[in-house]
């Protein structure tokens, strides 16, 4: 038989209920500490994510919709691409007096900026990469059947059967008017003629056989044929993609830590897509 006291005795004995209370308290404290320690990285990650999102959004807004600015103390202007050393704001937008959309000259300059310079002017310690793509649409709404073209158009040496439907149109590509014919072959518009005029019979005409992921060259510039949409429900358009290059740092292989936002504007009358990637 033994007697268990409620308190520690002068001889160093500790009562069981006291131990139980202490263990419950310590357990709770340990659990709490563990939870807090696990929460800290989560908080940091959320803050980092928000910070990256905010950075991506802010940078994209400035780059795509601001004219940019330079100053050397005695003079200033929006043509920063001629004064890179004195540039304080990077923006691709034309000045109001110069037209709509993005300036190709500014875009070329931005693309060629060293990464450190780009980051310095953008005023961010985050890594930034901007990928530019031109989406050129050639309106091929008008049509005729082989052998019955409109008067201004001369047909090419045919590579498609008689009486097949032909869609045609033109667009400004890289500042130059270019003309296209799209010929039907078994209800697939896979035969593309490009030319420098409506005369598709001369040596300036190039034939392209369109397949998946076809890359065509017009005026020594490569375009990826994104789609040929002829049906009414899909539009009557030949859509070409042109890679306009990238600016900034090379993104890491893992996309988990990258925040991405797509922004759009126009350049030379075509749609410009800019993908902003920001990471730590």
């Amino acid at each position: 038989m033994c007697t268990i006291n409620r308190h520690a005795t002068r001889t160093g004995q500790i009562s069981i209920d006291y131990i139980a209370g202490a263990l419950i308290f310590l357990g709770a404290v340990l659990f709490l500490m563990s939870t807090i320690l696990n929460t800290v990285p989560e908080v940091e990650q959320i803050q980092e994510e928000d910070d990256l999102q905010l950075t991506a959004w802010g940078l994209s807004e400035v780059v795509m919709h601001d004219t940019g600015y330079w100053t050397n103390g005695s003079a200033d202007g929006t043509d920063w691409h001629r004064h890179v050393a004195n540039t304080t704001t990077l923006g691709l937008q034309h000045a109001d007096s110069e037209g709509e959309g993005v300036s190709m000259q500014k875009l070329d300059t931005l693309r060629d900026l060293p990464t450190e310079t780009l980051h310095d002017i953008l005023g961010t310690d985050r890594s930034v990469n901007i990928a530019f793509t031109l989406l050129a649409d050639i309106d091929t709404y008008r049509s005729f059947r082989r052998g019955n073209p409109p008067g201004f158009l001369t047909e090419p040496s045919y590579q498609y059967p008689p009486s097949t439907p032909v869609q045609y149109g033109s667009a400004t590509l890289n500042g130059t008017q270019r003309y296209v014919l799209l010929a039907d072959e078994n209800e697939q518009y896979t035969q593309l003629y490009t030319s420098t005029s409506w005369d598709f019979s001369d040596s300036n005409t190039t034939f392209h056989n369109l397949t998946e992921e076809t890359v065509i060259t017009i005026d020594e510039i490569q375009y990826l044929v994104d789609r040929v949409a002829i049906q009414i429900s899909d539009g009557n358009v030949l859509l070409l993609r042109r890679d306009l290059g990238r600016a900034g740092a090379v993104p890491p292989a893992s996309t988990n830590d990258i925040v991405q936002i797509k922004r759009y504007n126009t350049v030379n009358g075509n749609v410009l897509e800019a993908v902003f990637r920001v990471w730590r």
Binding site: M1, C2, T3, I4, N5, R6, S15, I16, D17, Y18, A20, G21, A22, L23, I24, F25, G27, A28, V29, L32, I36, T39, E42, V43, I46, Q47, E49, D50, Q53, W57, E61, M64, E100, G101, L135, D137, D139, Y141, D226, R227, A229, Q231, I232, S233, D234, G235, N236, V237, L239, R241, I261, K262, R263, Y264, N265, T266, G269, N270, V271, L272
Partner: protein
């Protein structure tokens, strides 16, 4: 083991530990809070979608889609931009290229043939099926040219000259023709072939023919807009196939019924235009607002407005005729050539059907006969001609631009939602100078407001004035307005013009006592079942008391809500339609029919819309400007 008195205190130690842990937990938790993650999805796709639409606009793709009414290119481009982005675009402010307008026929303008019998018309080839009959005194024969079953007649031939040969025709459903003189009861009038069955329906179609003629060759911003005008009888045909309908010469007591009559069309966004002869009619009594009508004054000039482009309406010397190019224009503006009159060129404009002589003195000055050439105008001046204001855009050539604007958008089309007690604010205004010093008040001391001296201010005026008010229930209450007694002014016989205190003899005992006053400005007095706000005021005609309170004016079906984007109803208060009126009708029909023009992504529309943006003033001349409302969401 024996647990003695320590058992209960052991539990307490455990409880202490638990409580201590909870306290520490709560404390630390309050110090460390996990921030919620910001949802950037909405922001990101909002910016992307807004960018996309603006880029498509700048690249001219939106314009092409709108011009062709073919969203295909937009679909292709957006799909290439972001394959998971769906969209819907609703185009407003631009009319569709083709409009179907119905002119409503009624019993008096719809004619049904008699019972017909099968017969082969003289000279008709064999092999068809026929049915003959008589309508408006003219013999006809229906022909089934399809040889299908059941018999469906699709042609009608008439024998207008009554020579037993059906050589007038064939006419199909919807065809219009003019009966030759002497042809039975349809003598010389325009008629239109109605729906076929075993009998023939004919519509009197003079109005339809005139409207079709007036609407022909319409262009908006250089684009042809085709009006397909047909007569119809809504008891026989579906009205929802029309974009707009016109009910012409409706009796004034039947105006209100037209809104309900065409409810199905209004529900799907169509427009209804009613004409009625309102001369001698109290338009207010028709209660047009309650019925959802927009009253269209025949004098109203339509010349553009927000988000519209009024193209230059040019009168040029040497040109034979003026062609309106803006459908928001109902001003008939024509001219003959200018001639040299020695010292100036003179020419006659026709504005709203009335001649206006213009004199161009030199390249900088023009004067008009309506002002006896007394005023000279220069470029940039505004001149009022035939009730319309025009901006003089140039002198040589003379160009006048209508400046008054009105847009026929958003006619209210109330949903009738049952009967309501309709109340309105009612004002009772009493000019108390009428009651000044009238007997018996100046001698009846009992009706004198309390505290007011009996001393008159002068021989004719007392420091209070009396009157009475009859409220809605018919009960009449005496009231007194008391002059402000400024520092004993009343005792001194001094009065002023400010009567700020009002008493009401509410219990009709001839005295202003108890709770019957004084009421000051903006206080509320209860008279009968109504509460009225007391507003004494002074103006140039004397001292007045205004009681402002509610009044029930009756039980009416009233609008619970106004449904945006649904159909619209307009009323033109005349039936004698001239050239201007036809132009006006064109403007109304086109403007209101805009609501039915939109296109959207061919894929299904999701419910989880993230937001919307507005692209306004997307103008690419000579296109009419339009507004594209975009909605986007993710699959």
């Amino acid at each position: 083991m024996a647990l003695t008195g320590g058992q209960r205190s052991g539990y307490l130690h455990a409880l202490e530990g638990t409580l201590a842990a909870l306290i520490v937990t709560f404390y630390l938790t309050s110090l460390v809070s996990v921030p919620s993650e910001t949802d950037w999805t909405d922001t990101r796709i909002s910016k992307q979608a807004a960018d996309s639409m603006q880029a498509l606009d700048r690249a001219g793709i939106l314009d092409r889609a709108v011009l062709r009414q073919d969203p295909g290119t937009v679909n292709a481009m957006l799909s290439a931009m972001d394959r998971s982005l769906l969209y819907s675009i609703r185009i407003s402010d631009i009319p569709p290229p083709q409009l179907m307008v119905g002119v409503a026929a009624n019993e008096s303008t719809t004619f049904q043939s008699d019972t017909s019998t099968t017969a082969q018309p003289a000279g008709a080839p064999d092999g068809y099926r026929w049915r003959d009959g008589t309508i408006r005194g003219v013999d006809f024969v229906l022909t089934d040219t399809t040889d299908d079953k059941p018999i469906t007649y699709d042609w009608v031939n008439f024998d207008f000259d009554d020579d037993d040969v059906y050589d007038d025709g064939p006419y199909e459903f919807g065809d219009r023709f003019v009966c030759p003189g002497g042809a039975g009861g349809c003598n010389g009038a325009s008629h239109e072939v109605g729906p076929f069955n075993d009998t023939l329906t004919l519509y009197h179609a003079n109005t339809t023919a005139r409207l079709a003629e007036a609407l022909a060759d319409t262009q908006v911003g250089g684009r042809p807009v085709t009006f397909d005008v047909q007569t119809f009888n809504d008891s026989l045909e579906r009205i929802v196939k029309f974009d707009a309908v016109v009910a012409h010469a409706v009796p004034t007591d039947q105006v209100g019924q037209q809104r309900d009559r065409f409810e199905p069309l209004l529900d799907q966004g169509g427009a209804v235009l009613v004409t009625a002869n309102l001369s001698g009619t109290d338009a207010g009594a028709l209660d047009l607002d309650r019925l959802g009508f927009e009253y269209i004054s025949e004098y109203r000039v339509i010349g553009g407005g927000d988000n519209t482009t009024t193209l230059s309406d040019t009168h040029t010397a040497g040109t034979a005729a003026y062609t309106t190019s803006s459908y928001y224009q109902n001003t008939d503006l024509r001219t003959a050539s200018f001639t040299d009159a020695g010292g100036y060129d003179t020419g006659e404009l026709v504005i709203r059907g009335e001649p206006v002589t213009a004199r161009v003195y030199d390249s900088d000055t023009v004067a008009f006969g309506t002002e006896s050439f007394a005023l000279n105008y220069s470029t940039g001046d505004r001149v009022n001609l035939r009730a319309n204001t025009y901006l003089i855009q140039s002198i040589t050539p003379l160009e006048l631009q209508p400046t008054d604007t009105h847009r026929f958008t958003g006619f209210n089309t109330p949903r009738i939602a049952g009967d309501y007690h309709l109340t309105e604010r009612v004002h009772h205004t009493f000019n108390t100078t009428l009651y000044d010093r009238t007997a018996p008040h100046d001698t009846n001391t009992t009706s004198r407001p309390p505290g007011v001296a009996e001393t008159p201010c002068d021989e004719t005026a007392y420091p209070y004035r009396l009157g009475n008010v009859t409220i809605e229930s018919g009960d009449t209450y005496d009231f007194a307005m008391v002059n402000v007694d400024y520092e004993g002014a009343h005792e001194r016989g001094e009065c002023n013009d400010y009567y700020e205190y009002v008493y009401f003899d509410i219990d009709d005992d001839g005295q202003f006592d108890g709770e019957e006053g004084p009421y000051q400005r903006d206080e509320i007095v209860e008279l009968g079942d109504g509460n009225y706000t007391v507003r004494p005021f002074l103006n140039g005609t004397g001292t007045h008391l205004l009681l402002d309170g509610p009044r029930t004016v009756g039980e009416f079906p009233v609008s619970r809500d106004v449904v945006s984007g649904s159909g619209s109803v307009g009323l033109l208060g005349k039936t004698d339609l001239g050239h201007d009126d036809m132009s006006l009708m064109r403007a109304v029909l086109m403007a209101e029919s805009q609501h039915r023009f939109w296109f959207t992504d061919p894929r299904s529309v999701g419910d989880d819309a993230y937001g919307y943006t507005y692209l306004s003033d997307v103008t690419n001349e000579p296109l009419q400007s339009y507004t594209a409302h975009t909605v986007w969401w993710y699959e």
